[in-house]
């Protein structure tokens, strides 16, 4: 092998630093029409006002309201394309008894962001993980079939 060129190592490393930077919470509701957007705006206002009444005031930079479907991504961008929805929220989900299969689903969203069509976004919170479904079966069972045991736990005691 010949003709290979190189350079001295740089004096620095690229370091991906993670640090504690507070907390965040996000929630999502679907609000139907008629007057969906007006109602959604009112709902957001109610949330901020109720929080403020309870001593939790958030500044503009500490809070977020988006009305997805009513032009979130390109708000404020002048456009001639008024006929097309500004964005679409896609919700995908799976369920079943094979946990590995459910986990596998979670790996399929990020590739759409990194190597799918341009403009796919909204994925900063990590991939979906399998969470257990707690089933609910209200039933009447004959008393002799139920072995019962009561445990009382007191504060500071055992």
């Amino acid at each position: 092998m010949r003709g290979v060129k190189g350079a001295a190592p740089t004096p620095t490393f690229k370091v991906s630093i993670s640090y504690e930077d507070g907390w965040k919470a996000l929630g999502q509701l679907t609000i139907s029409g008629p007057d969906a957007l007006a109602k959604a705006k009112l709902c957001a206002e109610i949330v901020w006002k109720r929080l403020e009444m309870d001593g939790c005031k958030f500044s503009e930079s500490e809070r977020l309201v988006e009305f997805v479907g009513a032009n979130v991504c390109h708000a404020g961008i002048e456009s001639a394309e008024r006929h097309d929805p500004s964005e679409i929220v896609m919700r995908l989900g799976v369920k079943g008894h094979d946990k590995a299969k459910i986990e596998r689903f979670g790996y399929e969203l990020v590739p759409l962001v990194t190597s799918g069509p341009p403009g796919v976004t909204g994925f900063a919170g990590g991939r979906p993980h399998a969470t257990e479904i707690i089933g609910f079966w209200p039933a009447l069972v004959a008393k002799p079939r139920i072995a019962h045991k009561v445990t009382v736990v007191t504060a500071g005691g055992s």
Binding site: E66, C73, H74, E78, S79, A80, G119, T121, A124
Partner: protein
């Protein structure tokens, strides 16, 4: 002069760089690239994107790829995991820029195949 959206003569792709986004614009022809180098200045992009980006815009050129690359310095509401925005990665910023309507000379349109 005919009006045309940037998407008629260019493609774009974007993503996050810290608290800002990186918007790459690739011209669909050599003629379109020469036109865009002249018209699509950092200031023009800053004006168009001002509702999204609160910071300055810096333009870089990559001649061999017919590419203009724009760094929007404050466009992600804190960026990465600190952002509350739907588009925390600026993935839609390229498409937002492609909506820019320009006065494009007919000879540039003629020399540039439509998408």
């Amino acid at each position: 002069m005919p009006l045309a959206p940037l998407s008629r003569i260019a493609m774009a792709r974007s993503g996050d760089k810290g608290e800002g986004s990186n918007v790459g614009v690739m011209a669909r022809s050599e003629v379109a690239y020469r036109f865009l180098k002249r018209e699509l200045t950092g200031e023009r992009v800053r004006q168009h994107m001002r509702a999204i980006n609160r910071g300055p815009v810096k333009r870089y050129e990559a001649e061999n790829m017919r590419l203009l690359n724009f760094l929007l310095h404050d466009s992600l509401g804190g960026g990465g995991s600190a952002s509350l925005k739907t588009d925390a990665q600026g993935k839609t910023h390229g498409l937002a820029l492609l909506r820019l309507v320009l006065e494009v000379p007919q000879e540039v349109l003629d020399a540039t195949p439509a998408p």
